[in-house]
């Protein structure tokens, strides 16, 4: 227990070393007069801007709005990506029918959907959430459908020997067998969810970290822009960490390579 706690603590120190060193270096450079820090504000200026937003409760409201959009969009993208990924991976007829279209759709840049989604779903929440779900959908669909096709035939034969139905085969053999790849796909999907939420919040949002970016630009406050970027980085990393930690419990059975210390 002590050993684990020690190394976890050690991991945090190591992980924070680079961003803290960069921030400290920039702070020193501006303090020493080597740079003026006007267009790239110092960490202390960003902190002051964020603290001011936090004091009025604005920051919490923006974070909450963005988190809610990512959470709902991610959930929808995961559901759809898992369903289509499993179906297309399992049935070759479904693959022949659906995969070419989905692969073509995958290559459309996210921004290209914005005008259509505004026309179809309006300027409010629905269009934003669907845009995020689209971003989350593709890595999960692609990762899962490929992984299902790569499942060891020998394990599938065990399921056949025990007369598994299609549903049982998918739920009890194929999905567990693809879990390590699926988790990677979920993490990629979540990362894209955080990217797409910015595009979504550029679509006339009144709240959210994406809105804060636009607001900071329009009001000439680079510290606010940088503060929103830092908030995105922290939230993105935190949610990814939570996902990876939850998944690690499900992958404890893996007989995987342990990276060298």
């Amino acid at each position: 227990m002590f050993r684990t706690a020690f190394f976890l603590k050690g991991n945090w120190v190591l992980a924070l070393a680079l961003p803290l060193a960069l921030a400290g270096g920039w702070e020193l450079a501006v303090a020493a007069g080597w740079a003026n820090g006007r267009l790239l504000p110092t960490p202390s200026a960003v902190y002051t801007a964020l603290a001011a937003l936090a004091k009025t409760g604005e920051l919490a409201a923006h974070v909450q709005a963005t988190l809610a959009r990512v959470a709902v969009g991610f959930a929808l993208g995961v559901l759809a990506g898992t369903f289509f990924g499993a179906v297309v991976g399992y049935w070759s007829a479904a693959r022949r029918f659906l995969d070419p279209t989905l692969q073509a759709l995958r290559n459309i840049p996210s921004i290209a959907w914005v005008p259509m989604f505004i026309l179809w779903f309006g300027i409010f929440e629905t269009s934003k959430i669907i845009l995020i779900a689209v971003g989350v959908f593709f890595p999960i669909y692609l990762g899962l459908s490929d992984a299902v096709r790569g499942v060891d035939r020998k394990l599938v034969e065990v399921g056949r020997i025990f007369r598994f139905s299609h549903r049982e085969m998918i739920l009890r053999v194929l999905l567990p067998a693809t879990l390590p790849t699926y988790v990677s796909s979920l993490r990629s999907g979540l990362g894209l969810g955080w990217m797409f939420v910015v595009a979504a919040e550029f679509m006339g949002a009144e709240q959210g970290l994406g809105f804060l970016l636009v607001d900071g630009q329009q009001t000439g406050r680079p510290a606010v822009i940088l503060g929103a970027i830092v908030a995105f980085a922290v939230l993105g990393k935190l949610t990814d960490w939570l996902l990876a930690a939850a998944a690690a419990r499900l992958l404890v059975w893996q007989d995987a390579f342990k990276p060298v210390e």
Binding site: V158, I161, L179, Q254
Partner: protein
């Protein structure tokens, strides 16, 4: 009784793996299928299991045709094929999911005790040795109490000592419910140690060359003169069963 009548198997690439093969196996009989590589013995086992379909002929178990895997037929493969994401007890319960939870639990406990792995119920497959994993695979196949158990070179990847242990263990397990055992093996000694009848197959296309009923008292002694005589007879027969040398098969002994 298992009845195989004029069974043929031609693969989509045109290869005729089995040609008009007929064989009957009595209830509780232990039958070994031996022969060099490519003689179709594993193909035959896959047809009996219902994993593959014959392109000609019929396979019946107790009068009912085998067209797909059936609950009455258990299979142990060359590799344990345990689900790595399930613990050992969950792996054993894999094939009896239709039973009530209490009955599943009871049978799994019994099955693991029978293969001597009761203490490993909550372990992961990665924590077991090759021999232990194969015993779990045997428990998983037997827990559904099949009428027939098919074994496809189940011990070929194990060292000689473990193999001998598991062969004796298999006979102990068989004595409880006495299912029909059909064993595919490259190992003449294994076939002679276990089987009531040894069927020698030959390739191109796969057919039965000959059958032997080694009249050896049980438990069989691998070092007895009689056992060694039978071994030599079978080796001579297998020599006849080898396909002519050609292509990459420069080392026929390795195929036996």
């Amino acid at each position: 009784m298992l009845s195989i009548q004029n069974v043929a198997k031609r693969y989509p690439n045109g290869t005729l793996a089995l040609d008009r093969l007929s064989l009957s196996v009595e209830q509780s009989e232990i039958l070994a299928l031996v022969g060099g590589s490519g003689c179709g013995k594993s193909t035959l086992l896959r047809l009996i299991s219902g994993l593959d379909h014959p392109t000609g002929g019929t396979i019946d178990l107790d009068g009912a045709p085998v067209r797909q895997p059936r609950a009455e037929i258990g299979v142990v493969f060359q590799e344990p094929r345990l689900m790595p994401w399930l613990t050992i007890d969950q792996n054993v319960a894999f094939g009896i999911r239709h039973l009530p939870a209490a009955e599943q639990k009871k049978r799994v406990v019994e099955a693991l005790a029978r293969v001597g792995l009761a203490a490993y119920a909550g372990h992961w497959p990665r924590e077991l040795s090759g021999g232990q994993a194969q015993r779990v695979a045997l428990a998983r196949a037997l827990v559904g109490r099949p009428k027939a158990l098919l074994l496809d070179e189940p011990y070929s990847a194990l060292d000689a000592l473990t193999r001998n242990d598991l062969q004796e263990h298999l006979l102990d397990l068989w004595a409880d419910d006495r299912p029909t055992l059909i064993l595919v093996t490259h190992d003449i000694e294994e076939a002679l140690f276990l089987a009531d009848r040894v069927v020698v197959m030959r390739p191109d296309p796969g057919r039965i060359l000959s059958e032997f009923r080694p009249h050896l008292a049980r438990p069989r002694d691998r070092l007895s003169g009689e056992f060694l005589d039978w071994k030599n007879r079978l080796l001579a027969e297998l020599g006849k069963a080898q396909r002519p040398l050609g292509g990459d098969e420069k080392y026929p002994a390795a195929a036996i």
